[in-house]
Point group: C2
Chain length 318, copies 2
């Protein structure tokens, strides 16, 4: 037990990121059943679709699960109403300002974590009364901070800044990385990319395949004049980079991006013209597995790595 | 003892990066005397100046020390001749191709490590016969890889790719980070930024002060159309970013950069118009200390962190 497992009532401090187009009830319930915390990603769902996923998730698990809500989102009021109506106990918010919704959710008895890319935002979260902070480094998939602070530099900085529970995200795909994040000061990890490569992930099979084939340098932080987002390199990504290299304005990039690119790529499987969001950790993946096996594997690797480090004292410096 | 301490004959697997304008004999000998491996940075020295630093370093320490040589360097032949003439035992090379100079140096009985930003380059190093690889993440100061792979994702990937000793670099400023890097698969660490904030660093006092005042987001990877380099934000950096945002060509950037910007900034102390190279870890620094105290502090924090992790088993998952 630590503060993160106690806060959410889970067995392992392993949280599955609530990613757009990837994180429906199948993935969230599989992770929760395995002892982690599954999150439904509301960012790509209408309020009624979210309701359906919450209801199915409750049928599929009696363990705690949560919902991730991006706060810069068109139908935020209705989404929050569904969450309260359906008695969801845990909400992870991301983007936007944590002070607006935290007290609303906490008044309903809901545990709130907020995702940030820097220590100054973490301090605001603590002041707003959130229960835990997720600090997400530059290597993470999807939307990302402008400071480009990596997990290695971010976690120690946030740890010295806040007192509330700290969850690390960005570049964590296995148990050794989980232990490393905890050495740096985290009390749990949020893992996205690794769970995209799971049977239960709702993304298109073609996208999942491209994710596990990703090599070093296969992702890039792009669209920095809009909101920085880490993309898997494909035809669309190359077009973005070409425009950016020529000094394109935010308006030109918005026009190229258009509407619905992420769903087109990750859900419908238009691998060349879609917007494919994934983290740098994709280059470390070995295959597509059941989500429950992924949780077990991460936890066992974590225990093994800790055992090795403890024993290494006999060789180096004890 | 581990493979890195054995290879170089040092007490702690802590290597001080051989940084341009920062790493003369004073810093290298102080680090070596404290049990780490000090490196003289040849990248900002004429061959005769390097010779003078090597001679002074030998007077100041009877412990092993080395020289860092950037392989894309104007007077490389003469520099290598000085290294051989003065019987230097350890050389770290960076940039360029490791196969060209590794056998030359190894034939002279010199231990060779090469710095890389990715696993595919690490494999080439191993094939070229280098004794150890330094894998340096996106968060590192100065010149950097185009793949932008962070330390968190880079170290596990390099570890699974090569069998020879692996030294992690990029974002490592203290003993907790050192332990985290070793959890990820490294056997030692190369630390640059933290040693810039030392008494013995040869950089200008104004630069050192700006480094310790650096906040989150205070550095940025720039000049990507030339060779990517991590800069401390100042007037020159803002001019670079402005040009890049407007889609400037490599030629325009080369013209802005001009000659001698790094020395002007880091050595002469033109803090606004100079090119100031530093890593993201600058935001974690607390002050300017004697280099020997820095080595002791990193090592003690490493031991303490390992003890805590070993004991944490009692609370979480044992």
């Amino acid at each position: 037990m630590n503060r993160v497992t106690e806060l959410f009532g889970i067995k392992y401090p392993i949280i599955q990121g609530g990613m757009v187009w990837c994180s429906g009830w199948e993935l969230a319930s599989a992770v929760s059943n395995a002892g982690g915390l599954g999150l439904i990603g509301a960012g790509s769902m209408s309020p009624e679709m979210l309701r359906a996923h919450i209801l199915k998730c409750k049928e599929a698990t009696d363990k705690p699960f949560g919902v991730n809500v991006p706060l810069l989102f068109s139908h935020l009021q209705e989404t929050m109403k569904v969450i309260v109506d359906e008695d969801v106990k845990i909400v992870f918010t991301s983007g936007g300002k944590p002070d607006l919704w935290t007290s609303f959710l906490k008044d309903k008895g809901i545990k709130v974590a907020h995702v940030v890319p820097g220590a100054k935002y973490a301090a605001k979260c603590e002041a707003a009364g959130v229960d835990a902070v997720v600090a997400e480094g530059f290597e993470a998939g999807g939307h990302n901070g402008r400071e480009e602070t990596t997990t290695f530099c971010l976690i120690p900085k946030v740890r010295e800044t806040i007192k509330i529970p700290l969850i690390a995200a960005g570049g964590i795909t296995g148990g050794r990385a989980m232990l490393a994040a905890m050495v740096l000061g985290a009390e749990g990890v949020q893992i996205g990319t690794r769970f995209v490569a799971s049977w239960e992930c709702s993304a298109n099979a073609g996208f999942k395949q491209k994710v596990v084939e990703c090599e070093e340098g296969g992702t890039v932080l792009a669209l920095k004049k809009l909101a920085p987002v880490r993309l898997l390199r494909n035809k669309f990504c190359a077009e973005v980079l070409e425009l950016e290299s020529r000094g394109a304005t935010a308006e030109e990039l918005t026009q190229l991006l258009g509407k619905g690119r992420a769903g087109k790529g990750m859900f419908e499987g238009d691998i060349e013209n879609g917007e494919l969001e994934i983290g740098q950790g994709a280059s470390l993946l070995k295959g597509i597995l059941p989500a429950g096996e992924i949780v077990d594997s991460i936890w066992n690797e974590f225990l093994q790595a800790r055992k090795e480090i403890s024993e290494a004292g006999a060789q180096l410096g004890s």
